[in-house]
Protein backbone atom coordinates (compact mmCIF):
# COMPACT_ATOMS: atom_id res chain seq x y z
CA UNK A 1 0.00 0.00 0.00
CA UNK A 2 2.77 2.33 0.93
CA UNK A 3 4.57 1.51 -2.31
CA UNK A 4 1.53 2.34 -4.37
CA UNK A 5 1.11 5.73 -2.77
CA UNK A 6 4.77 6.46 -3.25
CA UNK A 7 4.83 5.49 -6.92
CA UNK A 8 1.67 7.52 -7.40
CA UNK A 9 3.46 10.53 -6.03
CA UNK A 10 6.40 9.98 -8.35
CA UNK A 11 4.09 9.63 -11.35
CA UNK A 12 2.53 12.91 -10.35
CA UNK A 13 5.95 14.52 -10.17
CA UNK A 14 6.80 13.19 -13.61
CA UNK A 15 3.69 14.77 -15.11
CA UNK A 16 4.53 17.99 -13.32
CA UNK A 17 7.97 18.33 -14.84
CA UNK A 18 7.39 16.95 -18.36
CA UNK A 19 6.10 20.07 -20.18
CA UNK A 20 9.18 22.06 -19.21
CA UNK A 21 11.31 20.14 -21.68
CA UNK A 22 9.56 21.64 -24.68
CA UNK A 23 9.66 25.29 -23.74
CA UNK A 24 10.67 26.78 -27.11
CA UNK A 25 8.32 25.49 -29.76
CA UNK A 26 9.23 25.23 -33.45
CA UNK A 27 6.79 28.00 -34.24
CA UNK A 28 8.49 30.27 -31.73
CA UNK A 29 11.89 29.55 -33.17
CA UNK A 30 10.70 30.14 -36.72
CA UNK A 31 9.06 33.45 -35.81
CA UNK A 32 12.27 34.57 -34.20
CA UNK A 33 14.34 33.59 -37.27
CA UNK A 34 11.99 35.44 -39.59
CA UNK A 35 12.03 38.53 -37.44
CA UNK A 36 15.80 38.48 -37.40
CA UNK A 37 15.98 38.25 -41.17
CA UNK A 38 13.62 41.20 -41.46
CA UNK A 39 15.74 43.21 -39.06
CA UNK A 40 18.88 42.41 -41.04
CA UNK A 41 17.23 43.53 -44.26
CA UNK A 42 16.10 46.73 -42.54
CA UNK A 43 19.60 47.48 -41.33
CA UNK A 44 20.99 46.96 -44.84
CA UNK A 45 18.49 49.43 -46.23
CA UNK A 46 19.19 52.01 -43.55
CA UNK A 47 22.97 51.84 -43.71
CA UNK A 48 23.75 53.60 -47.04
CA UNK A 49 21.20 56.38 -46.50
CA UNK A 50 22.76 59.78 -45.70
CA UNK A 51 20.56 60.60 -42.71
CA UNK A 52 18.85 57.54 -41.34
CA UNK A 53 15.84 58.15 -39.18
CA UNK A 54 17.84 57.40 -36.10
CA UNK A 55 17.06 53.72 -36.07
CA UNK A 56 20.16 51.55 -36.33
CA UNK A 57 22.35 54.67 -36.50
CA UNK A 58 24.39 53.89 -33.46
CA UNK A 59 23.72 50.66 -31.71
CA UNK A 60 23.65 51.26 -27.93
CA UNK A 61 26.90 50.12 -26.37
CA UNK A 62 26.21 49.41 -22.72
CA UNK A 63 28.92 46.74 -22.83
CA UNK A 64 31.46 48.80 -20.91
CA UNK A 65 28.93 49.52 -18.19
CA UNK A 66 27.97 45.90 -18.02
CA UNK A 67 31.55 44.77 -17.52
CA UNK A 68 31.81 46.97 -14.48
CA UNK A 69 28.58 45.71 -12.97
CA UNK A 70 28.79 42.11 -14.09
CA UNK A 71 29.93 40.80 -10.74
CA UNK A 72 27.67 43.01 -8.70
CA UNK A 73 24.46 41.47 -7.40
CA UNK A 74 21.65 42.74 -9.63
CA UNK A 75 18.77 42.82 -7.11
CA UNK A 76 16.80 42.06 -10.23
CA UNK A 77 13.91 39.98 -8.94
CA UNK A 78 10.64 41.57 -7.93
CA UNK A 79 10.09 42.37 -4.27
CA UNK A 80 9.07 39.34 -2.20
CA UNK A 81 9.58 36.87 -5.06
CA UNK A 82 12.62 35.42 -3.32
CA UNK A 83 10.47 34.38 -0.37
CA UNK A 84 11.94 34.36 3.12
CA UNK A 85 14.16 31.89 5.00
CA UNK A 86 12.35 29.05 6.72
CA UNK A 87 13.20 27.63 10.13
CA UNK A 88 15.76 25.14 8.76
CA UNK A 89 17.61 27.76 6.74
CA UNK A 90 16.24 27.16 3.23
CA UNK A 91 14.39 29.68 1.12
CA UNK A 92 10.68 29.29 1.63
CA UNK A 93 8.01 30.27 4.03
CA UNK A 94 8.31 29.90 7.78
CA UNK A 95 8.13 26.14 8.33
CA UNK A 96 8.42 24.83 4.79
CA UNK A 97 11.00 25.11 2.01
CA UNK A 98 9.63 26.46 -1.29
CA UNK A 99 10.84 26.05 -4.86
CA UNK A 100 11.93 29.71 -4.95
CA UNK A 101 15.67 30.40 -4.84
CA UNK A 102 16.55 32.78 -2.02
CA UNK A 103 17.67 36.36 -2.64
CA UNK A 104 17.05 38.85 -5.41
CA UNK A 105 19.61 37.68 -7.96
CA UNK A 106 18.16 36.85 -11.37
CA UNK A 107 19.45 34.02 -13.54
CA UNK A 108 22.34 36.33 -14.52
CA UNK A 109 23.38 37.12 -10.96
CA UNK A 110 23.24 36.00 -7.37
CA UNK A 111 21.74 36.93 -4.04
CA UNK A 112 22.17 36.09 -0.38
CA UNK A 113 20.36 36.41 2.91
CA UNK A 114 21.15 36.17 6.60
CA UNK A 115 18.33 35.36 8.99
CA UNK A 116 17.57 35.25 12.65
CA UNK A 117 14.41 33.53 13.81
CA UNK A 118 13.00 33.45 17.30
CA UNK A 119 10.18 31.09 18.13
CA UNK A 120 8.74 31.01 21.60
CA UNK A 121 5.99 28.75 22.98
CA UNK A 122 4.73 28.31 26.56
CA UNK A 123 7.59 26.02 27.59
CA UNK A 124 10.20 26.12 24.84
CA UNK A 125 12.25 28.52 22.74
CA UNK A 126 13.72 27.81 19.36
CA UNK A 127 16.33 30.08 17.81
CA UNK A 128 17.54 29.65 14.29
CA UNK A 129 20.12 31.66 12.42
CA UNK A 130 22.16 31.27 9.30
CA UNK A 131 23.00 32.37 5.79
CA UNK A 132 21.82 31.31 2.38
CA UNK A 133 22.98 32.18 -1.12
CA UNK A 134 21.11 31.92 -4.37
CA UNK A 135 23.23 31.43 -7.49
CA UNK A 136 21.91 32.24 -10.99
CA UNK A 137 18.38 31.82 -9.63
CA UNK A 138 19.07 28.11 -9.98
CA UNK A 139 21.06 26.83 -7.02
CA UNK A 140 20.63 27.61 -3.35
CA UNK A 141 23.11 26.77 -0.60
CA UNK A 142 22.29 27.35 3.04
CA UNK A 143 23.84 27.02 6.47
CA UNK A 144 21.76 27.21 9.62
CA UNK A 145 21.99 26.52 13.29
CA UNK A 146 19.05 25.69 15.50
CA UNK A 147 19.10 26.09 19.26
CA UNK A 148 16.26 24.64 21.29
CA UNK A 149 15.76 25.60 24.94
CA UNK A 150 13.37 24.45 27.65
CA UNK A 151 12.04 26.83 30.27
CA UNK A 152 9.87 24.59 32.48
CA UNK A 153 11.16 22.13 35.10
CA UNK A 154 12.41 19.46 34.71
CA UNK A 155 13.46 20.71 31.29
CA UNK A 156 14.32 24.22 32.44
CA UNK A 157 18.02 23.80 31.59
CA UNK A 158 17.46 21.85 28.40
CA UNK A 159 19.53 22.88 25.41
CA UNK A 160 19.71 21.01 22.12
CA UNK A 161 21.52 22.35 19.07
CA UNK A 162 21.58 21.22 15.50
CA UNK A 163 23.53 22.20 12.36
CA UNK A 164 21.87 22.11 8.96
CA UNK A 165 23.50 22.36 5.55
CA UNK A 166 21.03 22.78 2.74
CA UNK A 167 21.18 22.53 -1.03
CA UNK A 168 18.37 23.21 -3.47
CA UNK A 169 18.26 23.06 -7.25
CA UNK A 170 15.54 24.59 -9.39
CA UNK A 171 14.47 22.08 -12.03
CA UNK A 172 11.72 23.68 -14.07
CA UNK A 173 9.22 26.46 -14.42
CA UNK A 174 9.17 30.02 -13.24
CA UNK A 175 6.79 30.99 -10.47
CA UNK A 176 6.45 34.58 -11.74
CA UNK A 177 6.60 34.50 -15.54
CA UNK A 178 4.61 31.34 -16.27
CA UNK A 179 1.23 32.98 -15.63
CA UNK A 180 -0.24 31.41 -18.76
CA UNK A 181 0.83 27.88 -17.82
CA UNK A 182 -0.17 25.62 -14.98
CA UNK A 183 3.43 24.46 -14.57
CA UNK A 184 4.73 25.59 -11.17
CA UNK A 185 8.34 26.34 -10.34
CA UNK A 186 9.82 23.03 -9.24
CA UNK A 187 12.92 22.43 -7.16
CA UNK A 188 14.57 19.52 -5.37
CA UNK A 189 16.59 19.90 -2.23
CA UNK A 190 18.35 18.16 0.59
CA UNK A 191 19.07 19.13 4.17
CA UNK A 192 22.05 17.55 5.88
CA UNK A 193 21.40 17.70 9.60
CA UNK A 194 23.61 16.97 12.52
CA UNK A 195 22.34 17.01 16.10
CA UNK A 196 25.02 18.16 18.53
CA UNK A 197 23.56 16.45 21.56
CA UNK A 198 21.59 17.38 24.64
CA UNK A 199 22.64 19.65 27.47
CA UNK A 200 21.01 20.27 30.82
CA UNK A 201 19.40 16.85 31.23
CA UNK A 202 21.92 15.18 33.55
CA UNK A 203 23.06 11.84 32.23
CA UNK A 204 20.99 12.18 29.07
CA UNK A 205 23.43 13.74 26.61
CA UNK A 206 22.46 12.18 23.30
CA UNK A 207 19.22 11.95 21.36
CA UNK A 208 19.94 8.22 21.09
CA UNK A 209 19.16 7.92 24.78
CA UNK A 210 15.65 9.21 24.01
CA UNK A 211 15.17 6.44 21.47
CA UNK A 212 16.47 8.04 18.28
CA UNK A 213 18.35 5.72 15.92
CA UNK A 214 20.86 8.35 14.89
CA UNK A 215 22.04 11.87 15.66
CA UNK A 216 22.45 12.74 11.97
CA UNK A 217 20.15 12.51 9.01
CA UNK A 218 19.30 13.83 5.58
CA UNK A 219 15.93 15.19 4.50
CA UNK A 220 15.14 15.12 0.77
CA UNK A 221 12.38 17.26 -0.64
CA UNK A 222 10.65 18.27 -3.80
CA UNK A 223 8.82 21.59 -3.87
CA UNK A 224 6.39 23.13 -6.33
CA UNK A 225 5.60 26.83 -6.02
CA UNK A 226 3.03 28.67 -8.09
CA UNK A 227 2.30 32.36 -8.01
CA UNK A 228 -1.24 33.02 -9.25
CA UNK A 229 -0.98 36.73 -10.01
CA UNK A 230 -4.54 36.92 -11.25
CA UNK A 231 -5.67 35.93 -7.74
CA UNK A 232 -2.71 37.54 -5.91
CA UNK A 233 -2.10 34.09 -4.41
CA UNK A 234 1.00 32.02 -3.85
CA UNK A 235 0.67 28.26 -3.39
CA UNK A 236 3.36 25.81 -2.42
CA UNK A 237 3.40 22.07 -1.99
CA UNK A 238 6.44 20.22 -0.70
CA UNK A 239 6.95 16.50 -0.39
CA UNK A 240 9.69 15.62 2.06
CA UNK A 241 11.32 12.27 2.68
CA UNK A 242 12.51 12.32 6.25
CA UNK A 243 13.42 10.40 9.38
CA UNK A 244 13.79 13.53 11.50
CA UNK A 245 12.10 13.79 14.89
CA UNK A 246 11.01 17.38 15.61
CA UNK A 247 13.02 18.47 12.53
CA UNK A 248 16.04 16.54 13.93
CA UNK A 249 16.17 18.24 17.32
CA UNK A 250 15.25 14.84 18.79
CA UNK A 251 17.38 12.90 16.33
CA UNK A 252 16.56 10.71 13.37
CA UNK A 253 14.58 7.50 13.25
CA UNK A 254 13.56 5.79 16.45
CA UNK A 255 12.21 2.89 18.39
CA UNK A 256 8.87 3.01 16.55
CA UNK A 257 10.13 3.51 13.04
CA UNK A 258 13.51 3.94 11.35
CA UNK A 259 12.59 4.25 7.68
CA UNK A 260 12.14 7.26 5.43
CA UNK A 261 8.59 8.50 5.24
CA UNK A 262 7.00 10.97 2.83
CA UNK A 263 5.52 14.03 4.48
CA UNK A 264 3.43 16.72 2.81
CA UNK A 265 3.90 20.40 3.55
CA UNK A 266 1.58 23.08 2.25
CA UNK A 267 1.57 26.85 2.14
CA UNK A 268 -0.83 29.41 0.79
CA UNK A 269 -0.34 33.16 0.90
CA UNK A 270 -2.36 36.14 -0.21
CA UNK A 271 -0.42 39.14 -1.47
CA UNK A 272 -2.10 42.08 0.19
CA UNK A 273 0.25 44.30 -1.79
CA UNK A 274 3.84 44.16 -3.01
CA UNK A 275 5.21 44.43 0.51
CA UNK A 276 2.77 42.39 2.58
CA UNK A 277 1.82 38.75 2.37
CA UNK A 278 -0.61 36.95 4.67
CA UNK A 279 -0.55 33.18 4.72
CA UNK A 280 -0.91 29.81 6.37
CA UNK A 281 1.26 26.71 6.40
CA UNK A 282 0.83 23.10 7.38
CA UNK A 283 3.69 20.65 7.82
CA UNK A 284 3.18 16.92 8.42
CA UNK A 285 5.62 15.13 10.72
CA UNK A 286 6.63 11.53 11.30
CA UNK A 287 6.19 9.76 14.66
CA UNK A 288 9.27 7.66 15.23
CA UNK A 289 9.76 7.96 18.97
CA UNK A 290 7.75 6.32 21.75
CA UNK A 291 8.87 9.20 23.95
CA UNK A 292 7.32 11.83 21.66
CA UNK A 293 3.78 11.88 20.29
CA UNK A 294 5.04 14.18 17.61
CA UNK A 295 2.40 16.37 16.00
CA UNK A 296 2.10 18.23 12.72
CA UNK A 297 3.15 21.87 12.73
CA UNK A 298 1.05 24.72 11.40
CA UNK A 299 1.22 28.48 11.37
CA UNK A 300 -0.39 31.67 10.18
CA UNK A 301 2.03 34.39 9.10
CA UNK A 302 2.34 37.97 8.00
CA UNK A 303 5.48 38.76 6.02
CA UNK A 304 6.56 42.34 5.44
CA UNK A 305 9.08 43.35 2.79
CA UNK A 306 9.91 47.03 3.40
CA UNK A 307 12.71 46.75 0.81
CA UNK A 308 14.66 44.14 -1.10
CA UNK A 309 17.27 44.23 1.66
CA UNK A 310 15.03 43.51 4.58
CA UNK A 311 12.06 41.40 5.55
CA UNK A 312 10.23 40.54 8.71
CA UNK A 313 7.91 37.63 9.32
CA UNK A 314 5.56 37.45 12.26
CA UNK A 315 3.61 34.25 12.81
CA UNK A 316 1.45 32.33 15.19
CA UNK A 317 2.74 28.75 15.34
CA UNK A 318 1.41 25.52 16.77
CA UNK A 319 3.99 22.77 17.27
CA UNK A 320 1.90 20.23 19.18
CA UNK A 321 3.19 18.57 22.34
CA UNK A 322 6.89 17.88 22.39
CA UNK A 323 7.86 14.67 24.26
CA UNK A 324 5.55 12.69 26.55
CA UNK A 325 7.13 14.42 29.54
CA UNK A 326 5.19 17.58 28.81
CA UNK A 327 1.80 16.87 27.23
CA UNK A 328 0.90 20.53 26.80
CA UNK A 329 0.35 21.59 23.21
CA UNK A 330 2.94 24.19 22.39
CA UNK A 331 1.76 27.35 20.70
CA UNK A 332 3.46 30.64 20.36
CA UNK A 333 4.99 33.42 18.39
CA UNK A 334 7.44 33.21 15.54
CA UNK A 335 9.46 36.25 14.58
CA UNK A 336 12.01 36.18 11.81
CA UNK A 337 14.28 38.93 10.55
CA UNK A 338 16.08 38.69 7.29
CA UNK A 339 18.63 40.93 5.65
CA UNK A 340 20.29 40.48 2.30
CA UNK A 341 20.19 41.23 -1.39
Amino acid sequence: MKKITKSGAFALLATLSAPALAQLSDADREAWMQAQQRKAAQAMRAAPGPVSSGAAATAPEPAADQDKTRWMPDLGKLTATGGVIQVEGAGGGGLTPWALITGYGTRDSYGANAHYTYLSTQDYTLKSYGVAVGILDRLELSLAKQEFYGSLAPLADLKITQDIVGIKLKLAGDAVYDQDRWLPQIAVGAMFKHNNGIGGLGTVTSVRQLGAASDAGIDYYLSATKLLLEQSLLLNGTLRLTKANQMGLLGFGGDLNDRYQAMGEFSAAYMINRKLALGVEYRMKPRNLAADHEKDYYDAFLAWFPSKNLSMTLAYVALGDITVYNPKRQRGVYLSLQAGF
Binding site: K2, L12, A55, A57, Y177, D180, W182, S232, F266, I272
Partner: protein
Protein backbone atom coordinates in the same frame (compact mmCIF):
# COMPACT_ATOMS: atom_id res chain seq x y z
CA UNK B 1 -1.39 5.30 10.51
CA UNK B 2 1.65 5.95 8.32
CA UNK B 3 -0.10 4.69 5.22
CA UNK B 4 -2.90 7.07 5.92
CA UNK B 5 -0.54 9.98 6.36
CA UNK B 6 1.27 9.26 3.11
CA UNK B 7 -2.04 9.14 1.30
CA UNK B 8 -2.88 12.44 2.88
CA UNK B 9 0.35 13.88 1.55
CA UNK B 10 -0.24 12.58 -1.97
CA UNK B 11 -3.83 13.76 -1.89
CA UNK B 12 -2.76 17.21 -0.77
CA UNK B 13 -0.25 17.53 -3.60
CA UNK B 14 -2.79 16.29 -6.13
CA UNK B 15 -5.26 18.86 -4.88
CA UNK B 16 -2.76 21.68 -5.13
CA UNK B 17 -1.88 20.56 -8.64
CA UNK B 18 -5.51 20.23 -9.70
CA UNK B 19 -6.24 23.67 -8.34
CA UNK B 20 -3.46 25.10 -10.47
CA UNK B 21 -4.75 23.23 -13.50
CA UNK B 22 -8.29 24.46 -13.03
CA UNK B 23 -6.84 27.94 -12.73
CA UNK B 24 -4.99 27.66 -16.03
CA UNK B 25 -8.04 26.31 -17.82
CA UNK B 26 -10.34 29.08 -16.79
CA UNK B 27 -7.81 31.56 -18.13
CA UNK B 28 -6.93 30.03 -21.48
CA UNK B 29 -9.89 31.07 -23.66
CA UNK B 30 -9.64 34.60 -24.99
CA UNK B 31 -12.63 35.92 -23.11
CA UNK B 32 -14.39 39.08 -24.27
CA UNK B 33 -14.62 39.90 -20.56
CA UNK B 34 -13.91 43.59 -19.98
CA UNK B 35 -13.97 43.49 -16.17
CA UNK B 36 -10.23 44.20 -15.90
CA UNK B 37 -10.51 47.12 -18.35
CA UNK B 38 -13.28 48.57 -16.18
CA UNK B 39 -11.42 47.83 -12.94
CA UNK B 40 -8.41 49.73 -14.28
CA UNK B 41 -10.65 52.72 -14.90
CA UNK B 42 -11.04 52.52 -18.67
CA UNK B 43 -9.07 54.25 -21.39
CA UNK B 44 -8.45 57.60 -19.64
CA UNK B 45 -6.74 55.88 -16.70
CA UNK B 46 -4.80 53.51 -18.94
CA UNK B 47 -3.53 56.51 -20.89
CA UNK B 48 -2.39 58.24 -17.70
CA UNK B 49 -0.78 55.05 -16.41
CA UNK B 50 1.12 54.58 -19.66
CA UNK B 51 2.26 58.20 -19.61
CA UNK B 52 3.63 57.79 -16.07
CA UNK B 53 5.00 54.34 -16.91
CA UNK B 54 6.93 55.74 -19.87
CA UNK B 55 8.19 58.68 -17.78
CA UNK B 56 9.36 56.26 -15.09
CA UNK B 57 11.21 54.09 -17.59
CA UNK B 58 12.90 57.06 -19.23
CA UNK B 59 14.08 58.18 -15.79
CA UNK B 60 15.18 54.68 -14.77
CA UNK B 61 18.97 54.36 -15.10
CA UNK B 62 18.61 50.60 -15.37
CA UNK B 63 16.62 50.57 -18.59
CA UNK B 64 16.35 54.06 -20.12
CA UNK B 65 19.14 53.26 -22.60
CA UNK B 66 16.87 50.67 -24.21
CA UNK B 67 14.78 53.54 -25.60
CA UNK B 68 17.73 55.37 -27.19
CA UNK B 69 16.55 54.49 -30.68
CA UNK B 70 12.84 54.44 -30.02
CA UNK B 71 10.07 56.77 -31.03
CA UNK B 72 8.77 57.33 -27.51
CA UNK B 73 5.44 58.74 -28.66
CA UNK B 74 4.78 55.68 -30.78
CA UNK B 75 5.81 53.31 -28.00
CA UNK B 76 3.36 55.07 -25.69
CA UNK B 77 0.52 54.74 -28.21
CA UNK B 78 1.22 51.07 -28.75
CA UNK B 79 1.36 50.43 -25.02
CA UNK B 80 -2.06 52.03 -24.57
CA UNK B 81 -3.44 49.84 -27.35
CA UNK B 82 -1.85 46.78 -25.88
CA UNK B 83 -3.02 47.31 -22.29
CA UNK B 84 -6.51 48.19 -23.55
CA UNK B 85 -6.67 45.06 -25.70
CA UNK B 86 -5.25 42.76 -23.00
CA UNK B 87 -7.67 44.03 -20.38
CA UNK B 88 -10.65 43.47 -22.66
CA UNK B 89 -11.25 47.10 -23.64
CA UNK B 90 -11.78 46.26 -27.30
CA UNK B 91 -8.74 48.04 -28.76
CA UNK B 92 -6.51 46.39 -31.34
CA UNK B 93 -2.76 46.35 -30.80
CA UNK B 94 -1.27 47.56 -34.09
CA UNK B 95 2.40 47.38 -33.11
CA UNK B 96 4.98 44.86 -34.22
CA UNK B 97 5.17 41.44 -32.52
CA UNK B 98 6.79 41.67 -29.09
CA UNK B 99 9.60 39.31 -30.02
CA UNK B 100 10.56 41.39 -33.03
CA UNK B 101 10.41 44.71 -31.18
CA UNK B 102 12.73 43.51 -28.42
CA UNK B 103 15.09 41.07 -30.05
CA UNK B 104 17.95 43.49 -30.73
CA UNK B 105 17.91 44.90 -27.22
CA UNK B 106 19.37 41.84 -25.49
CA UNK B 107 17.16 42.40 -22.47
CA UNK B 108 17.73 40.46 -19.26
CA UNK B 109 15.28 39.31 -16.63
CA UNK B 110 16.51 42.19 -14.47
CA UNK B 111 15.59 44.64 -17.27
CA UNK B 112 12.17 43.03 -17.62
CA UNK B 113 11.57 43.24 -13.88
CA UNK B 114 12.77 46.85 -13.77
CA UNK B 115 10.07 47.61 -16.34
CA UNK B 116 7.51 45.82 -14.17
CA UNK B 117 8.52 47.93 -11.18
CA UNK B 118 8.16 51.13 -13.22
CA UNK B 119 4.68 50.00 -14.26
CA UNK B 120 3.75 49.15 -10.67
CA UNK B 121 4.78 52.63 -9.55
CA UNK B 122 2.75 54.18 -12.35
CA UNK B 123 -0.30 52.14 -11.34
CA UNK B 124 0.23 53.09 -7.68
CA UNK B 125 0.31 56.75 -8.68
CA UNK B 126 -3.03 56.37 -10.44
CA UNK B 127 -4.67 54.67 -7.48
CA UNK B 128 -5.05 51.22 -9.00
CA UNK B 129 -5.43 48.66 -6.20
CA UNK B 130 -2.86 45.88 -5.84
CA UNK B 131 -5.34 43.16 -6.79
CA UNK B 132 -6.14 44.89 -10.08
CA UNK B 133 -2.47 45.60 -10.76
CA UNK B 134 -1.69 41.92 -10.38
CA UNK B 135 -4.47 40.95 -12.78
CA UNK B 136 -2.85 43.09 -15.47
CA UNK B 137 0.64 41.84 -14.57
CA UNK B 138 -0.60 38.25 -14.90
CA UNK B 139 -1.32 39.00 -18.57
CA UNK B 140 2.00 40.76 -19.13
CA UNK B 141 4.31 38.35 -17.25
CA UNK B 142 4.40 35.63 -19.96
CA UNK B 143 5.82 38.25 -22.36
CA UNK B 144 9.12 37.67 -20.58
CA UNK B 145 9.59 34.75 -22.97
CA UNK B 146 9.19 37.01 -26.03
CA UNK B 147 11.17 39.99 -24.80
CA UNK B 148 14.07 38.68 -22.75
CA UNK B 149 16.84 37.31 -24.95
CA UNK B 150 19.88 37.41 -22.71
Amino acid sequence: MNKFRMQQAALGLTLAWALGLAQAQTRTPATPDDSLFRALGGLPVIERVVQDFMDNMLADARIRHTFDNSNVKRVREKLVEQFCQLSGGGCIYTGDPMREVHQGLKLSNADFNALVEDLQLAMDKNGIPSRTQNRLLALLAPMQRETVSR
